[in-house]
């Protein structure tokens, strides 16, 4: 990052995904120690993710120079793209609702959970709940209010991991419209 000012193009520092995965694991493990129940942990993870999302969106925008989205299909595509940039894999986007205001993010292979087995007493824990917060926070900054939740979780015995994203409303901007 420090080199960036002298470089022509944006240089993303690649780090070993294991390091990231283990750091995330450490955060969750710490939360398990500090919180009373799984619900509380889920809430904390979501909140942390939300705060990350608020900032991450700027990084995403400054590096990809994306323009504004005008429909939810665009949004889904950009999220898929963001997964590729920040987590190194592209999830599948499927299960569109008839109204085109809901879709699922299918994560077949989730590096975050690579070394994870949930113990029995934490069966309610959404291990990757941070992701929900990140998506919600990031979209909020571009005036899109969404709800994100787990539909299936591989760690809890489902076939795959499925995140559901539901469009709530467009946040009425006090800002002027700014397109492109």
């Amino acid at each position: 990052m420090s080199k960036q000012a002298n470089k022509n193009s944006i240089e993303t520092k690649k780090i070993n995904s294991d390091l990231f995965v283990l750091t995330y694991g450490a955060i969750v493990a710490q939360l398990v120690k500090e919180c009373d129940n799984a619900e509380e942990i889920n809430k904390q993870l979501d909140k942390m993710g939300y705060n990350i999302g608020l900032r991450l969106i700027e990084d995403y925008l400054s590096k990809t120079q994306m323009t504004r989205c005008h429909d939810f299909k665009d949004v889904a595509e950009r999220i898929q793209n963001a997964f590729r940039i920040y987590l190194g894999f592209a999830p599948t986007i499927t299960n569109w609702s008839a109204a085109q205001d809901e879709f699922s993010i299918l994560i077949d292979y989730n590096p975050l959970t690579e070394f994870v087995e949930l113990p029995d007493h934490l069966s309610n824990l959404r291990y990757c709940n941070l992701l929900c917060g990140v998506i919600r926070g990031a979209l909020e900054m571009v005036q899109i209010d969404v709800q994100v939740y787990f539909l299936q979780d591989y760690l809890r015995g489902d076939q795959t991991t499925e995140l559901r994203v539901r469009f709530m409303k467009k946040i009425e901007d006090v800002l002027p419209r700014n397109d492109d």
Partner: protein
């Protein structure tokens, strides 16, 4: 004077219109100070306009209309008080205080004035973005550039509503759009990724200052080369 490039100032305005960052390239601002000894009566008409005393009428010896009174007998003054006396009504009106040495010059904007300017620009931007002339295939984007007879202002608003402003010399022909994007990247890296920086609050991050100064210090040519060849589409393709 070191005029490595023609950038005067950088401003960052939050999405609510507050000034969250300002950086002036001190070496690029021209020096206008003039010091002179005056005898009674004063042959320059002074008037008090809000924070400072300015020359209202009567130009002489490079002291121009619009210059502010900066110092009396070497002592800096602020407002209209000097040694417990009102400068205009008492001190300069009294013959006993002459001959007096006065320093005039163009005063720079105070922080308050910058904050006012930032929120004013914020509203101007919103007015410019209204669909006054409807276009079926495009929207208005607000103010992208503003030019006067001695500076040019370029603005870039991000999708999240943060505005970046570059104020530069008219003769400076470097590509401001790319410079603005570069500043956006620095903001992302050194302000937003600082866990102790609170969103929407003034940016007081030393690393950000340092990197911004480095970016601006580059002279015209290298800045131009770097921005010209690097920016645009090639950067986004690099990331994947």
């Amino acid at each position: 004077m070191n005029r490595s490039n023609g950038i005067y100032s950088i401003y960052i305005i939050s999405k609510s219109g507050g000034l969250i960052y300002n950086y002036d390239v001190e070496s690029n601002f021209p020096v206008t100070d003039v010091e002179k000894t005056f005898s009674y009566p004063l042959d320059i008409k002074l008037e008090f306009i809000k924070p400072r005393i300015i020359v209202g009428f009567g130009q002489r010896d490079n002291i121009r209309v619009g210059y502010s009174l900066l110092a009396i007998n070497g002592d800096q003054i602020s407002g209209r008080k000097y040694k417990d006396q009102d400068v205009l009504d008492e001190y300069l009106a009294n013959e006993e205080n002459y001959p007096v040495n006065l320093k005039f010059g163009l005063a720079r904007l105070t922080t308050n004035e910058k904050i006012v300017m930032a929120s004013m620009f914020h509203s101007m931007y919103a007015i410019a973005a209204l669909q006054i002339v409807p276009q079926k295939d495009r929207f208005c984007t607000g103010i992208e550039a503003m030019e006067t007879n001695n500076f040019r202002l370029n603005c870039y608003q991000t999708l999240t509503g943060v505005k970046f402003l570059v104020i530069s010399d008219l003769n400076d022909s470097t590509n401001k759009d790319l410079l603005l994007r570069k500043i956006y990247e620095l903001y992302v890296d050194y302000a937003l990724k600082n866990p102790f920086y609170k969103l929407e609050m003034p940016i007081r991050c030393e690393l950000f200052d340092i990197n911004l100064a480095q970016l601006l210090e580059k002279n015209d040519k290298t800045l131009n080369e770097e921005l010209g060849s690097g920016g645009g589409e090639s950067s986004s393709s690099n990331i994947f």
